[in-house]
Symmetry: C2
Amino acid sequence: MSETARRQQAIAAAAKAGVDALVITHLPDVRWLCGFTGSNAALVLPVSSRLRPVLVTDGRYTAQAKSEARGVKVVIAPKAAAIAASEWAAKSRLRRCGFDEGNTTVAALKQMQAALPGKLRRGFFAPIGSLVSTLRWVKDKQEISRMRAAAALGCRLFDTIFDHIVPGASEAEVSLALEYNARVAGATEMSFPSIVASGPRSALPHGRASSARLPRRGFVTLDFGVVLDGYCSDMTRTVHLGRASAEERRVYEAVLEAQEAGVAAVRPGISGGDVDEAARSVLRRARLDKWFTHSTGHGVGLEIHEGPRLAAGQTQKLEPGMVVTIEPGVYLPGKFGVRIEDMVLVTQTGAEILTPSTRAWIEL
Amino acid sequence: MSETARRQQAIAAAAKAGVDALVITHLPDVRWLCGFTGSNAALVLPVSSRLRPVLVTDGRYTAQAKSEARGVKVVIAPKAAAIAASEWAAKSRLRRCGFDEGNTTVAALKQMQAALPGKLRRGFFAPIGSLVSTLRWVKDKQEISRMRAAAALGCRLFDTIFDHIVPGASEAEVSLALEYNARVAGATEMSFPSIVASGPRSALPHGRASSARLPRRGFVTLDFGVVLDGYCSDMTRTVHLGRASAEERRVYEAVLEAQEAGVAAVRPGISGGDVDEAARSVLRRARLDKWFTHSTGHGVGLEIHEGPRLAAGQTQKLEPGMVVTIEPGVYLPGKFGVRIEDMVLVTQTGAEILTPSTRAWIEL
């Protein structure tokens, strides 16, 4: 799907929401709709086909906007793009513009309103939520191909990291090797600060790689992702150094079973809450659910955390083309933790794992 | 200055602003006030000494909050920290809480208000701007020492990168070498995506390192920073490969003169606008100001972009302990660009450059 088709989708949603135009300031949404990747940008997307979409940015990005942005008129303004875009919208006789209240600060909205003639302010900006971000939940063909490539790179990095996972190496050294290899392979950056959590630190669900040294015996959890062509990967594997205790084996097997149950539940029409329950109920039967302290997964794409959320109470149904993570974990404070995570594409009939690195027990 | 002293500063500012408490959700502010570095956090800081400050986070961070947070009661809640903090504030009989409208989305404020009993909602949350972030502009002794270390690491990285700056190497390879060395030296991450912009790409003020290859003749601009112990560095140098043209030399000398004039202007009591003008006027005399398309500098600390801004019209006065960048540039579209940037500490009497790597002409 081209940017043009994406804009048509957004315009249809805007018309349905009863606004004249969208003023889009969330950068991944701007990129998705016109290809521009600069750090100061606002896109005005009018519903009427008589008005062209306008991308506003500043003088630092004149050349970049020209080369990247497709199908939009580029306006360079020496001020915050959201403010210049608001002025442009008012001058173009737009009268009701949708904005994403989840990605607009209270102060920014005030500034956007202050940029309007006084008589227009009331009701000019209408909160329409994450309308564009929600469209991004379902990936098109080009996006799926990029996400496949990002996920595959993640797997290659995991499959070749074992030489670095040795007692005495620091967590930071392991993450550095991973990240160096990622960059050499073409990743522009990591999609989030890599987690390398070893020994008792594996009980920290968000244990960023530290100066801690890998133990002779114990778990090492690696949770990392790359950004390739703009798209994020995300995967977690937990391996064991030295001989494991029976409790460690039992917890690992339970998390693996929960993760497989989560993956098996993924199909069009199931709710995020039901996928979460599929994984969580396995840990409940193993009397470990108390230690599964986060949700089962989230969408991923241009952003590392997108919708839909796979968590208790989420009624949003999965659709073909969505890419979500399935990542249950069990964390025993002061002892150890295990998490296993895959990226999964929702297909017409079920799910396809994009991160096929083995999830079987690995003892190094 | 300890976190306790910082909290006293913030409490005094809150009392002056006429609120009972601050509800702080901007993560660098939370970290500055209590040491906690997790990604979901809200700090309630009551003015009354009868109530203890409360840090709210979720179950992923139980152990981390216990080990990092100092002088605060930790509350673990299975929901967004800002919402749980709002509930806690209402239950603690607080009646008017300041929040930072520049770092709170319209949707988040609505959720925070919805967490209150209906009769309390009106006027409970009062916008008080970036009150805590503004306190952070002036660094204390411990912070200055950390910023010195981060800046010094940045200089060491620049001083040892020349072997990688050769015709035919890709910009991405140069940035990777820089970033690898940074991590080996202890940086946790880069403070922003490194800019390595070569040849005509040096005319892009924000030219992130790309697959473009360094030319036999032309400029290479390196703009990068590390994060060390939480604090960011930021510096830019522009070097020349091969023999330069007279125009290239002339532009370089003008930018250098502008940068030195900017640094020389820094002292307590001068406004951000006047520092900008000191640098800009040099380029005006050289008839190059038209191509200086951004502001002269910004504060830096726990965040890469903090206040004060050094830009036209900024009346904010510099104070001892502030750390700012001085980074004029000239960008001739399609031809080349030059930027030179230092981090500068405002002292009692003037300025101290924290990034003393040579700014003299370098031809490789």
